[in-house]
Symmetry: D2
Subunit: 362 residues, 4 copies
């Protein structure tokens, strides 16, 4: 109820601050008998972890996950799974400035207002450090989906826009996503972005971006009318990620500009006797329920406010000050949002898959 | 868990189908001692009800609400509030076509796939008829907010885009919202939209739209990190409304194109000793917590698929058919989404207000 | 969160006061395709309804239930089911006394303290009138259990003690339960109780009782460790019934007096290759999980405080007064607790059955 | 939903098996600004930990708790609190027998049936080892109660019955509770129990017991009608503790034998202008809501099935076997249930205290 957990039947609850001794989570509801090893989780954590290239924060965290419970002889047991990652790179530094000054665009001031106290070191609980646990939970969600859905569910994310630049969707190639620091599916765009972001980074500035996540082989029928529609829960999942300011399903805001004729996803029968949709404006969700098509979600990520240019703010005593961020930071936080958004997709789908099992057709 | 309720501490659960005998809801968690009468709810229901002008469906429903419990001598008692609206305009007509044919773009097919059965009359549970109960719950949420927040909370909605047309934001005038059939705050745009929508209506076509909801005097500190951020819950609330395909907070997707310098909301001290933000790119929410500024949410509403132009679909036996919708329908469902979106804003804020009370600073 | 609902996956939420216009509930999570008619529910409501014999309150309520949603052409649709019972016997009488005086042993005073307001007519929300909706929900839970468990689940209740009198368990005969006004399985005891309770009734006094509920053919494996053990949820379910002061599973408090040797339920293999327990001290639940044996729950029901003998109390102004109850009341409220306890057993089992489906073995 | 958490607004979720690397929990909903140190928790853990005298298992666990998050500079921050206890005494021994044999009266067989897999080492997740985390959460719940309730809330437990022996309630002396190995408030009874239990222990037998928990200075008005009555939630809390088979509030089962005249708790006005109850048959709860009197709960704890006498059981292959437990075990597990029951009382009260704050009287 205080917001540290996500999901209902596949539910995880996280704890930990940026510069505390450790972060962790408990995952409840995982079915028994699913193969799970630390390496399964580590694989995805390694995609998110900081310090991998010059476009992500230079904090050095191995993000080594430990499974503390719920797995026995390589299989889940149906009981709660405890995960732990120790923080190692808590630089001993002077927090004097951040302690007493509210960084504009960060959660410093609102946490102080809400709670009257905050762990100011590195942003404390509001730090994106917490997203490591989302990625860990997402890794387990993928295992659940793969165990229960024949053929498994594929979940992939990509960055499709950086500041004013967007990709050429015709050039989309999933294979390119791992070949550049942006998870960009368009090799040519990625090249251009690299130059652009280098300039931004050197100027101590930052830029926003757009992330797209696509899930394939999602079973028909996931999503619970009326308030827990699959798209409603995906919107919540994505909007809960740090710095996200917008979420779209399928055509999203573009659909608002279309006519009914343009927006229709017509249906035909395939040769295999299965229904086939002729287009996917809906992004794989109708009436809040998955159609079996690709589920497509996009999220807008704002630029971080941690920039070199001084910005006007106040301090804890109500003095007017100017704040400027030097040192390590992410020039485009959208990049690291990609594996996190994938993880939130996986967790949302796993939760709804389990929910659908609880309302069987007799 | 099966999705028919919304909220946690201010929680409502709805029931009812488009053409059943009645729709209703239970609202749990309303504090005691708040003045509440049926007229308080009816006021908002009258804004949503169909048949008010030529741009909304011609179904005639008085939508007369009855309070069945939880109110005594004009005051809430702290116990659950039951609400009921009887359906009166259930035209006796032949449902043969809709019974066996899946309308493209509607929830018909996915409900049938998910449940193996559906109440096909008028869309059944997936009909926008259900949103009457959201509006009723929203009316009570407003009473809660007004009782607990000094000065009350103002929640207003407007349509800011219709198909390719948008408003001139410089011309925004809340007083105009009640003067046109679109809840449009720009009188000149409304005039143009009227012509445009008349043509669409006569052609049996439809068009999408964008709705914006603004809440003023929201207390600082609403929103629960990390997963129940205020914006995350608003995203879910809005995305759960029929036909919504996108949600933005503040600058939303535009923020993804900005630099950190452009996106910063700087802070100064006002003469009153209160913090003042110099801009509101964030839409009143930082780190998932309200800043005290206006909370600004926008939602993209797709065009309804109920159009005259025949579209390819299938029937219950797997035959390929064409579907065309004649008769009463809304050419732009975004219009009627305005009071519903306001209601969902009210419910989300009321829920988080109660949640904030449960974590007091001692 | 404000306590008007029960269950998670099979969840019902009720509303209504003793003397309001109606009581009702919404049931969420019922699987689709289950046959359900109003008569299925009415059957159980008729067992609970007041005025059936001289030992239950003479209030006359037909308790006619209406299904308002969630059922189509005789089958559940998987969407929320709305139920309504109109109150008909709201005697217009002078509530002056009960309005200003707190009846000892009733919830009058605590409601007033908690909420600062209460619907004092007939006990308002704290009245046992609310239990009609438990019985209605229980009837639907039985349908769910019967649809999903091969052979169906049998749930039967009986009164096994009245004041100082208890039954001869060796004489237990389920067939007798319908033959006396007490749901007593021991015909000889029932005879004696009749005389005893007649005297109590005539004296305007009251007496407590013990109810036992037995569920047969409960599948092995229901119950979720650690906090949602089946017995923990049953304890909550039963203790939430008006006037209940104690709950036991299996041997219950007697188990505290036993040695490990006496309390052991040994296991053997049956000729059918199934495990057979040689005794059932555990009441069908081990480690919070059903064993497949009979699930046995007992509840202690206190005597109602509505008695003729004046009892010392206070009024709303803090004056010391004496309160005496004349007129219609139940001399032994445990009698009417029997169908309610059965219903709560059914709802708890249905909820856990659906929960077990959500954690499948792959 | 899978049962590893307790509470709603004060909510904790636990993980960990008896012989895994660690046990832990996350506590969500703790208000900010409350002083909290590891020593506050350790104090109560030390009361529960095994190996303290000859009547509790000789497993040696320091049960050293670490706070991993949610506390900053000695105060809670309002964010989730992570706790961890490493398991140190996981004797390397041959689990061959317990691996393949189901101990009668334990959860072995039902876990295997439910999940198809179990961590059999030391009982795995079903082990009472998990209760250490209840005690830790309870320690924090006490801090919450003390911070928010003027004068603080006192919660004390005692053992009031062991097998056939019970205490002389007239001799009740809280000061004695710490002077004997039983938390027994009657010094003379404790002496007799010691002899009795020594014999039982030497015989490799076991015995049940009754625990009573009393909370003082509980504010009036805690408890949420209708389904989340304070007594209903206490019943669930207590019944969720390992080996508990019965729960009573106030007079409990004895109330079922009383008349209305005997059971009435009359009210008078005290000289201080406060309402005074003349008795407390109700155990401090009316209509599910606290009256301000002592809240009194009793629980029946069964004897452990781990005894020397061979008992008939089956093994994993369906062979009939005999099982006998040698070595360390608790002859009366009720003893160690005392601090656990206190903790569950504290958590339940803290949860309802926060819930009451969320429904303020305006």
């Amino acid at each position: 109820m205080s917001g540290n957990g996500f999901g209902h039947l596949f539910r995880f609850t996280t704890f930990g601050e940026s510069h505390g001794p450790a972060i962790g989570c408990v995952i409840d509801g995982v079915p028994p008998g699913i193969p799970l090893a630390e390496a399964d989780i580590q694989h995805y954590l390694d995609q998110r972890k900081p310090g991998q290239n010059r476009f992500t924060t230079q904090r050095r965290e191995p993000d080594q996950v430990k499974i503390l419970s719920g797995v026995f002889e390589g299989l889940t047991t149906g009981t709660s799974i405890g995960l732990l990652i120790e923080n190692t790179d808590q630089r001993s530094k002077d927090y004097g400035e951040i302690k007493d000054t509210f960084r504009p665009g960060h959660a410093d001031w609102v946490y102080q207002q809400k709670y009257g106290i905050r762990d100011y070191r590195g942003g404390g609980r509001s730090s994106a450090r917490e997203t490591a646990m989302r990625v860990a939970a997402g890794a387990i969600a993928r295992k659940v989906l793969d165990a229960l859905v024949p053929g498994g569910v594929s979940i992939r994310g990509a960055m499709v826009g950086m500041g004013p630049h967007s990709i050429d969707r015709a050039a989309w190639n999933w294979a390119e996503v791992g070949n550049n620091p942006f998870w960009c599916p368009d090799a040519i765009a990625a090249k251009a972005w690299e130059e652009s972001l280098d300039a931004i980074r050197k100027a101590g500035s930052s830029i926003g971006g757009v992330v797209e996540v696509v899930a394939e082989r999602v079973p028909v029928g996931l999503g619970a009318p009326v308030y827990d529609k699959l798209d409603a829960d995906l919107a919540k999942a994505m909007m809960s990620i740090n710095a996200v300011k917008g979420v779209e399903i399928g055509d999203g805001f573009a659909a608002a500009t279309l006519s009914g004729e343009e927006n229709a996803d017509e249906m035909r029968m395939g040769n295999d006797g299965q229904v086939r949709f002729l287009s996917n404006h809906a992004g794989g969700i109708l009436g809040g329920i998955s159609t079996g098509q690709e589920v497509v979600v996009r999220l807008a990520v704002k630029p971080t406010s941690s920039i070199l240019t001084p910005k006007r703010s106040i301090d804890a005593k109500g003095n007017e000050v100017e704040v400027s961020t030097k040192g390590r930071h992410d020039p485009c936080v959208a990049i690291r949002a990609v594996p996190v958004a994938e993880a939130m997709m996986a967790c949302t789908l796993a939760d709804h898959l389990l929910r659908s099992l609880a309302q069987p057709r007799p």
